[in-house]
């Protein structure tokens, strides 16, 4: 974000509001910290951790202030979870052939997060029984806010201060962020400074004007928290080129915001036949799962796709099925099956 100079501010631009993870170049399920996707609503703040406090107030028995040192004194946990922006994968319109998997799915990353269960800290303040929602506010320039259901706050929400063994990167919310496993990334508020308990949602800009889905019937759905099951082949994927005909290992990622990946199927003939892919252990809840499937390419045109089923029984929809239910007006939460076309020469392109 450009800074104002000499008292005459330049208009802001959209530059650097996001960066995407190079999924096509990564192995396994862990995203290196420097390659975690970023999405900012008003830049990355520079925060002195000694000056950063977390305040918990509203419908609590005792409003509390915690320093970062305080937060780190509580019993900690480490868990591996994916984060995905709900704006990930804009395949609503006619697919652009030149897009890579980084372009289509790069607002997706997976890290080991270390922190304190939010329930532990909320218990220290004492949540009142009438509290049903929690406002989470960041210390970024947008002071970004989201309303979180109390059930989620008391379930598996984490106050994270570390990522893959080191303290959070500034772009990931240093020194403290909310981490809501399985929820759309925006709800995991970074640079967290305030939690306010209340009886009703706070109806912030990010849960009314944004992160809401206009449906074909004209209604707009808000509080679309859960990232439904989704998968994508990362090799071979858009922009890559196969060598000579012969053996290739198809590889990709599958995940669900509701639980574990139960099954991934792969097709190499555009959906005429599907076969089960192997799932790399460990398969964890609300976490990326690496899948693999052996393939002997005959050198001819092929269409490759993957389809995930999670442990709730939910099956990833086809693009046609998703488009029947809603369209580009809903913008967020595109989770349809991704197709890659392999041409006779080996070039791979996005087929939507």
């Amino acid at each position: 974000m450009r800074r104002p100079r000499g008292g005459s501010p330049e208009p802001p631009t959209r530059v650097a509001a996001l960066s995407v993870t190079p999924l096509q170049d990564l192995c396994g399920i862990i995203t290196p910290n420097g390659l975690h996707y970023e999405r900012h609503h008003a830049g990355t703040p520079t925060i002195d951790p000694l000056e950063h406090w977390l305040i918990v107030h509203g419908m609590v028995q005792q409003p509390m202030i915690f320093t970062i040192e305080d937060v780190r004194r509580f019993p900690s946990v480490s868990r591996i979870h994916f984060l995905e922006c709900s704006g990930n994968t804009q395949n609503w319109r006619a697919p652009k052939p030149e897009l890579t998997v980084q372009d289509t799915h790069g607002l997706l990353s997976c890290c080991e997060w270390t922190g304190v269960p939010l329930a532990t800290i909320l218990a220290e303040a004492g949540v009142q029984p009438e509290a049903k929602w929690m406002l989470a506010e960041g210390a970024d320039a947008a002071a970004m806010t989201r309303s979180i259901p109390i059930e989620k706050a008391l379930d598996d929400a984490l106050l994270a201060y570390a990522q893959n063994g080191e303290r959070l990167r500034p772009e990931q919310g240093y020194p403290l962020r909310l981490l809501l496993p399985g929820y759309e990334g925006n709800a995991s508020v970074k640079w967290l400074r305030r939690l306010k308990l209340g009886a009703e949602p706070f109806e912030t800009r990010e849960e009314t004007s944004k992160y809401t889905m206009v449906m074909p019937d004209g209604e707009t759905r808000q509080f679309n928290f859960v990232m439904q099951a989704k998968s994508v082949i990362t090799f071979p994927s858009g922009g890559q080129r196969l060598g000579p005909p012969g053996f290739y290992e198809i590889s990709g990622l599958a995940w669900s915001g509701l639980g574990k990946v139960a099954r991934v199927e792969v097709t190499t003939d555009g959906g005429a036949s599907w076969r089960d892919a192997a799932l790399q252990e460990p398969v964890m809840s609300k976490c990326l799962t690496r899948f693999r499937s052996p393939w002997r390419w005959d050198g001819g045109p092929a269409t490759l796709s993957s389809r995930v089923t999670d442990d709730t029984g939910y099956v990833q929809p086809t693009r046609e099925a998703l488009l029947k239910e809603r369209d580009v007006r809903s913008y967020y939460h595109y989770n349809a099956i991704q197709n890659w076309s392999v041409a006779a020469g080996g070039a791979v392109v996005n087929a939507g």
């Binding site: 109806e203 206009v214 707009t220």
Partner: protein
């Protein structure tokens, strides 16, 4: 279990407690109470009920001057948008094939406008506007949308009462979809 052993186990347990074992459910005693003055300094959110609206007032005319100086570069002279979001127009388009989302056509609560301008705008100097200025800018944006008349003065008593055109356009998708439900 013989009494002697049971007593021994009990004693050992008591000794362990004395050595600093933490019992489940006990408060950790970490952190400190926040004072009302401290909370007031942080508590900037405004709810649809109007809770959180600060004292102050502002009118359309003042709002126009502030908007022209501090908002128009990003949102257009008349709030038509570009380079950033459009704020004006599109009322009635949300349920059409080409929804035009603006503050006027889409946002369900005037309190959200106040809250967002107060916390995040202008982008190059967020939280620099006084409460009076936020009331004024809110009044002007609502006037541009034809939601309030030109002689409007907004304050903590009347802002939350404004009925936005798309107030009933939203449905909550929470609680989370049941297993197997479509997204």
């Amino acid at each position: 279990m013989p009494d002697r052993i049971a007593r021994g186990v009990t004693l050992a347990f008591a000794a362990t407690l004395a050595a600093g074992v933490v019992r489940a459910g006990e408060p950790y005693g970490i952190g400190r109470p926040a004072t009302p003055q401290e909370i007031a300094g942080w508590d900037i959110d405004v709810s649809p009920s109007g809770a959180g609206l600060p004292p102050g007032r502002g009118d359309v005319q003042q709002g126009e001057a502030i908007f022209t100086a501090k908002c128009a570069a990003c949102h257009g002279v008349h709030g038509e948008g570009k380079p950033m979001d459009a704020l004006v127009g599109g009322i009635g388009t949300i349920s059409t094939p080409k929804p035009h989302k603006t503050v006027g056509s889409f946002w369900p609560y005037a309190t959200t406008l106040f809250d967002y301008v107060r916390r995040a705008m202008p982008l190059n100097a967020p939280q620099s506007l006084t409460p009076d200025e936020v009331y004024s800018v809110s009044a002007y944006v609502l006037f541009l949308n034809g939601i309030v008349p030109q002689d409007t003065t907004l304050d903590a008593d009347n802002l939350a009462k404004i009925k936005m055109p798309n107030r009933n356009g939203f449905v909550s998708a929470y609680p989370a979809p049941e297993a197997g439900a479509k997204p």
